[in-house]
């Protein structure tokens, strides 16, 4: 007993702070309040899946974390840095550009640059932002393309790729900035069913490498497989959260049960 009381704080001098922290996030579009006070924290190396019905605010939350949407109220923190820092004008612009470099985002519709080759898609940001030699950036991109299984597509244009290949390039493109966290907004929703697995596989691989990930998904099975924690959103609030086993087998809230009944039946 006394042993517990005298034990020094874990982690020595460095306090363990969440990698992503959202505090009381509020966001309205016109008269519609889409986020009604969201709190969320993701620890380093943790994988959190966000599930919930269409229109519940999942994308808005993810986009707010990356400041593609700006909150009306509340705070977003990335590894101890406030994303929506109280800065204005050019100072904020510089700040947010720096913050976004530490956050990879993967979109439902890939958003690959169609006028650039796969290699150029992956190297554009590091080349512009990290001041590395063309060779170093290329070497990094080759490694990443190899990792997502597309080493042979480096010189292809996105229009020549399947949806699954496009999304894997998009993941490689985000990873090329060597981000601290990865945000996925329904990365497989736009894909033909037979192409979903190849993208999920890449995400699982990232999970094994302890990448911190926040994953919005409609795939309950995948969420159950990779997530440390599942968060159910509805109507702009987090209805409940917990380990996937508990959320999927013993949800507490009626709304969660109703949602899962519908999804697991489909």
């Amino acid at each position: 007993m006394s042993d517990t009381m005298t034990r020094p704080a874990t982690g020595g001098g460095k306090a363990t702070r969440p990698m992503i922290e959202v505090k009381d996030a509020h966001k309205s579009f016109g008269a519609i309040e889409v986020l009604k006070g969201i709190d969320l924290s993701v620890e380093r190396g943790q994988i959190v899946a966000i599930i919930g019905p269409s229109g519940s605010g999942k994308s808005t939350l993810l986009r707010s974390i990356n400041h593609l949407e700006s909150l009306d109220r509340g705070e977003i923190w990335l590894d101890g840095v406030q994303v929506n820092a109280p800065l204005t004008g050019k100072a904020f612009e510089r700040h947010i550009n720096a913050v976004r470099q530490r956050m990879g985002m993967v979109f439902q519709h890939f958003n690959l640059f169609p006028h650039l080759t796969v290699m150029e898609n992956v190297t554009l940001a590091p080349r512009l932002l990290q001041g590395l030699s063309g060779e170093a950036v290329r070497a990094r991109a080759e490694k990443l393309l190899d990792k997502v299984g597309l080493a042979d597509k480096a010189e292809a244009y996105p229009s020549r790729l399947s949806g699954g290949q496009k999304q894997r390039v998009a993941i490689a493109r985000a990873l090329a900035m060597e981000p601290k966290v990865m945000l996925f907004d329904e990365a497989t929703s736009a894909l033909d069913p037979e192409l979903v697995d190849e993208v999920n596989l890449v995400m699982k691989q990232l999970a094994q490498e302890h990448m911190t990930m926040l994953i919005v998904t409609h795939e309950m099975r995948f969420a159950g497989e990779v997530a440390d924690r599942v968060l159910f959103m509805d109507g702009g609030v987090v209805v409940e959260e917990g380990p996937p086993d508990r959320i999927f087998t013993a949800p507490k809230a009626e709304r969660t049960r109703a949602f899962l009944r519908k999804y697991l039946r489909d």
């Binding site: 593609l68 990879g104 958003n111």
Partner: protein, 218 residues
């Protein structure tokens, strides 16, 4: 009385002067129209309202009124208030502004048509607004905008004939001068038409080369 083109060679130098001035007019006005178009599009899209709204009004004014009237206004109107502009300059400015306005509309539409997801993809990587614009938005807009800008350029070449009313010895006016000495309107106007057609062919060949270059990556 049948057509007799044998008088044409004797007055070929008139027509050559016409071709030269038509070329000078077209090239100068096209440059003004191109850069003016970019400028107006940027202002309409991104400038503060204080600048954007007057520009929009100006665009609307130039689109809604005849080029001929604009040329008269610039040349004779300005002269009335004591600003004497050489006819060639008035022609270049009138043609240039008129087509700058059409180009601005094409360029604005081309930029707006780029999927917003492209900008989001770029910004999410940490690119600045300017970098996203430069490396992601513009290259895509350039592709969709090149063919309609080319069409505007061809229209500009043909509309340069209107500058004849200011007394610039471009192809139409030069033909008129030859006709006033020979009383052979058919022969000279047909020859002028053929020359316009040749200039157009050259221009189209040039435009196709540009489009091929733009399309090269895909």
């Amino acid at each position: 009385m049948g057509l007799d083109f044998s008088v044409v060679p004797e007055y070929a130098h008139f027509l050559w002067i016409g071709v030269v001035w038509t070329t000078v007019l077209t090239v100068s006005a096209a440059l003004l129209a191109f850069f003016g178009g970019i400028l107006f599009a940027m202002i309409v899209l991104y400038a503060p309202r204080l600048l954007a709204w007057p520009t929009r009004f100006f665009v609307w004014l130039f689109m809604g009124t005849p080029l001929l009237l604009q040329l008269y206004l610039i040349y004779f109107g300005l002269s009335q208030v004591g600003i004497d502009v050489p006819a060639l300059v008035a022609g270049i400015v009138g043609l240039g502004l008129h087509f700058a306005v059409y180009n601005a509309d094409v360029i604005r539409a081309g930029i707006v048509a780029v999927d917003p997801g492209q900008n989001e993809g770029a910004r999410s990587l940490g690119l600045s607004r300017a970098q996203s614009f430069r490396y992601v938005i513009i290259p895509q807009a350039v592709r969709s905008v090149t063919p309609p800008l080319g069409n505007n350029l061809i229209a500009l070449l043909k509309d340069s004939a209107l500058v004849s009313v200011l007394g610039v010895a471009e192809l139409v006016h030069a033909s008129q001068l030859a006709i006033s000495e020979t009383y052979r309107p058919f022969e000279f106007y047909i020859t002028a038409a053929a020359l316009y057609y040749l200039l157009n062919l050259l221009l189209e060949a040039g435009l196709r080369a540009v489009e091929r270059k733009v399309e090269a990556t895909r």
